[in-house]
Symmetry: C2
Amino acid sequence: MTPDFDLKQYLEDRRLMVEEALEVALPQQDGPETRVVEAMRYSLFAGGKRLRPILCLAASEAVGGDLKAAMPAGCALEMIHTYSLIHDDLPAMDDDDLRRGKPTNHKVFGEAIAILAGDGLLTEAFVLLSDYNSLLPERAVQVIGVIAEAASYRGMVGGQVVDILSQNKRAELETVQQMHSRKTAALIAAATESGALSGKGSEAQVAALGRYGRAIGLAFQIADDILDIEGDTELLGKTTGADEARGKVTYPAAVGLERSRQAANEMVNDALAALEGFDDRANPLRSLANYIITRKK
Amino acid sequence: MTPDFDLKQYLEDRRLMVEEALEVALPQQDGPETRVVEAMRYSLFAGGKRLRPILCLAASEAVGGDLKAAMPAGCALEMIHTYSLIHDDLPAMDDDDLRRGKPTNHKVFGEAIAILAGDGLLTEAFVLLSDYNSLLPERAVQVIGVIAEAASYRGMVGGQVVDILSQNKRAELETVQQMHSRKTAALIAAATESGALSGKGSEAQVAALGRYGRAIGLAFQIADDILDIEGDTELLGKTTGADEARGKVTYPAAVGLERSRQAANEMVNDALAALEGFDDRANPLRSLANYIITRKK
């Protein structure tokens, strides 16, 4: 790592780049779809960190690929992440009123439009990926496969099922790991894999960056569980202690805070180990791995 | 048309072929996803006519393509159709208790799992399409684009928005056309277009079969509106008069039964005209166009 690498500035620059691309990918519409696109945009532009697109772009660069080539995958990942938040917040699911300090989608647009906004974002991700002109069709199909698989019932949808069905039960480590692995790590691994594919990485590079993604995805979710206990409500934009109040199974509930911190650290080390064969172009990924567990929001 | 073409037998043969392919595409699972896959399968195997897959396969054959080559697209279309039914039936949307004579998904599995089952089916369609080994990647990407576009906020999601926002309002012809075009015709057109693409049809053939699909899609939906007024409750597996009771805008409500029948007939003629350049291999499509407006369920 170059000691003068400014991760904060890097994240801010990349975030702005992603905002711009998302604005082009989903502009406001006139006509019968006005309302649903408004709802889709409300959540898509609600101030997310854009972590998945940023990881996707960084993975493309780590294999010597073009930054721009990975942008459609980055935007698709953010749309899928956003759809999952909208549906997770619904009254039938977590029944959340606030997300990032703002009223949740169904609170503003009503349940019907919120469900459709989620459906629309999930679908739009694949519209975007099918128009992947900067990639050879073989690569585009691979990217679509990696991202769809991560979003599927074997990935995110399955993770949300575990989340719902395990509420108010005793937190077993295996259940928590199942949930984190599917609900969070699957899409983060898809971000780095699809970035590596977009950047024309070799099979070995794609696999290594997938391992990196899965490891930081798990670390990220454990850190999230810890922040929910120890974090600052104002910085987070959500009430701390919400997981416990809601009977969610979390990593700290299963093994305690100390072992949770340890597990997150180990996973960050695993992630760094997966980058061993990469040169300096993977430095942003190295820096991001450490940021994941030291962030305050 | 050969006078001895037995459409009823044809539809039954094809339906069984599609059932088998769907069974392979979505087998029951063990593990944390058991419950959601059960819910996905409950609606996917609820006795649908499999019209979209059958049209997709027939379009592939009409351009001289392989039947099997179009099956992944056919299965994906049926998954997307089924997801849309599950979400449309939700309490926040149409609040339906029965679908094809059976309790709706959320009545059996609860709202949370029903939402996730819909999300899972929509996603699984793209998993299936990304694994389209029988097609060249260029064609596979085109198929994904055509199907995703039809499901998007410019298509089905937008149609459902029009449906919801127009309830209990005066039925304007333009609104009804907007709704039918997006909610029903878009995916049926995608069925014949993706079939033609899978069968390696020329650009002109793909366009002609898209026109055919849009026309019969509109005719199909008008016929549905008419059946809701004149149909047999037992044959349909749903209560007739439901549209009116619910304040839905329909074609007959906008222009009356007689003009609705006329419009459906005109669209079938449009559909047949689109097939003019095709040989006998398009005969099943010709026969299907007439069936659309004479069916009793």
